[in-house]
Subunit: 431 residues, 2 copies
């Protein structure tokens, strides 16, 4: 399949952040054959006219729990423990594969509609999420969660290893299997060492929650005499490529360790605010040279998977926290949501920017709307005024998943109805 996209304003997010006006893109065999000028002899099977549209790399949602779309608007304005123990966990206790399948499908549908072409997930029943990824055409890095709850540690470990070995590289290479130890407070040191070993053996990536709350840090200091970051560093986990979600409560020494071990930080502005954890020191992390990506977290602490909102927030919050209006400028935020996400997931040679040879994972925004006018600066418009609802077209691996706002691989009405039926069933069982 050869595809030609014509007349777009292209934000390449390449190393020099090049912007190309009135430019074309050629796609062949799922990869970018040309960006800017297309060879005259390129014979397209399909042509998309992108006049008045902005083309950019598909967004990377670097930390989410996609089946938790089932709990959207279900448990809000609550402190963490009542949120978890009185609302979320009692419902999760009744999860079946079918619940997770439809929850994941609703979430993936929302990701595609809002311009995400790759997401990194951690949850239960990961086979179901992988099935949805396979069916929908999206790209994903999937981590079956690893927990030491009761005596279930070994069961989770076996499932994670099996999941990796069954799914890694599947769905035309769109599925990457990662290892997802939940956190240093739900996994003991020995378990974390074992996880690291399994991940290293498979040259995989570790996806973990880290330094999310004050309590996590205080408990870790009390138990181990060191911060969570230091704890993981000393356990040797960072020998494996690690993507750490949150990192809200990290010290200058922690930041130094993250930098030294090339740990990527997955920033979740909405979730950190909603659960009252605070503001991660993103300005300091970026200035230190740490790779910072963006994620939405799950819809139970968000309540959507809208990466445009996370971009707006990342650009805005850090200015207020540092009282420096130059902190985290527009271009930085666009990089966080694209190429930095790709780097965090070890996919920077394949996705994250529009460069020849990379996978054709890209989106078009319909910029013929009032909030793009006057058209002073397209990069600012992405960081500050663009809306998820402007995403008109989505390609992953060169396959069109959304065209002229229409989903091509998922049935919208069926998915909304079935996911709601599943969610209401869980709530009924839980209460």
């Amino acid at each position: 399949m050869k595809l030609l996209i014509k007349n777009a304003l292209i934000l390449t997010v390449n190393p020099t952040n090049e912007v190309l006006e009135n430019a074309d893109i050629a796609v062949e065999d799922g990869r970018l054959l040309a960006v800017g000028k297309v060879p005259e002899n390129f014979q397209a099977d399909k042509v998309i006219d992108a006049s008045d549209q902005i083309a950019l790399p598909g967004l990377v949602n670097a930390h989410t729990h996609i089946p938790m779309s089932l709990f959207r608007n279900y448990a809000d304005d609550l402190p963490f423990w009542p949120w978890l123990l009185e609302k979320i966990k009692p419902a999760e206790d009744h999860l079946s594969a079918e619940h997770v399948y439809w929850g994941a499908k609703l979430g993936v549908l929302e990701l595609i509609q809002s311009g995400v072409t790759c997401f990194s997930d951690m949850y239960f029943y990961m086979n179901e999420v992988a099935t949805v990824v396979k069916e929908s055409g999206i790209r994903a890095c999937l981590s079956g969660v690893l927990l030491e709850v009761g005596d279930l540690g070994p069961t989770f470990m076996k499932a994670a290893v099996d999941f990796h070995d069954s799914w890694h590289g599947k769905a035309d290479g769109r599925i990457n299997a990662f290892f997802g130890p939940h956190s240093m407070y739900l996994c003991g040191p020995e378990y974390l060492r074992e996880t690291t070993e399994e991940a290293l053996k498979r040259k995989s990536v570790i996806h973990i929650h880290l330094a999310e709350s004050r309590q996590e840090v205080a408990d870790c200091l009390e138990k181990y005499g060191k911060s969570p970051v230091q704890h993981l560093a000393e356990l040797g986990m960072f020998a494996c490529r690690t993507a750490a979600a949150h990192c809200v409560h990290v010290s200058a020494d922690d930041i130094e360790l993250l930098k030294q071990h090339k740990v990527s930080v997955l920033n979740n502005p909405t979730s950190n605010m909603k659960l009252a954890n605070g503001f991660a020191p993103i300005d300091a992390l970026l200035k230190k040279g740490v790779n910072v990506a963006l994620g939405t977290d799950g819809s139970a602490s968000n309540n959507n998977v809208n990466m445009f909102e996370e971009m707006h927030l990342a650009a805005l919050i850090n200015k207020a926290v540092t009282e420096d209006a130059e902190s985290v400028p527009a271009q930085q935020v666009l990089r966080m949501a694209t190429i930095n996400g790709a780097k965090a997931l070890g996919l920077e040679n394949e996705i994250g920017s529009l460069e020849v040879g990379k996978r054709a994972d890209l989106i078009l925004l319909d910029a013929n709307k009032p909030h793009y006018f006057p058209r002073h600066n397209p990069v600012s418009s992405i960081a500050y005024s663009a809306q998820a609802a402007d995403v008109s077209t989505v390609l992953v691996n060169g396959q069109v998943l959304l065209e002229n706002y229409q989903l091509k691989t998922i049935d919208l009405q069926e998915t909304m109805q079935e996911a709601e039926r599943m969610a209401f069933d869980l709530v009924r069982r839980a209460t």
Copy 2:
């Protein structure tokens, strides 16, 4: 004109925050004749089927500078002084009535599309803004800005008085003329006293910027030996109903004064972050019983006039600042964007909730979209997951301004093109 809206999920925002399922609304002569159950003998001229839609009071954008849509995405990631002196002011120096007309029209179009039925504005060439309000059908509270720049104080004062007396109550009562002294740092004590007198004589409202930056507070303390809030209180300004934008840097004593004098605070989360002023103490203000409304500020410091984003931010930011997940819950945020806005503008008996006898200023959101599913809680969905692009229908005074996403009173393409032409003209002159 008799209008019937059928089968809506209604968020009334009445004193008990009643939610009505599968309910109807009858509109007659621009007012709400019935909310919930409609008399059987009601003969509608027009029926709107609102199945799968959420009806709520039109949003009130309580602080903006609507013609500044001309400067959207023009001056970003800059500290306040370079932002103002190197970018905004050089362009504003070339403003003409024509520039302001088209800038206002672009802004008002965006307000209508995103569910705002009433806005409170302060800017230059207010006759042009009033003309746009008259033509477009929206409701507004308009303040010609009052400044003591050079010897222009009296000129601005005369213009403000003339503006009030020409426009107050015009456009079927949709235009309210206010007095808009810019701030305590651009208006001297005597000028503020005179403004208060003119406003009191006309039973008008004062719309002012207050305690926006640390520098404003420091300078005021140095010059007058008191905080900006105390300064205005002692000048007697608060004898007039006052709506104060920002109030980021207010002390406990200031909050006490605001409460005592029934000053409304207009919170602008995006703008306060973007210009690095910080986070206003909204939790403390609300707990003290101060009326807090929401606004977008102008598009030069936002970069849109999207009240859904301000609602999300108000709900989220305050949880992080106070580290209390129960701070500013969903219902509170919905009130801030509706009835509290109406109160701030002295219009609480006319708009701000869906109650019989009030003006028919209401909006419908298309909730048949994935980010509303599962439908656990409609109020949460407004505060956390709804998007401006979900606004399908907008009524002001019973007149339909947007129906099935189509603007009825403004030409979309013409306005985007003309506003852009005006903006590029200003930039050319300024640089």
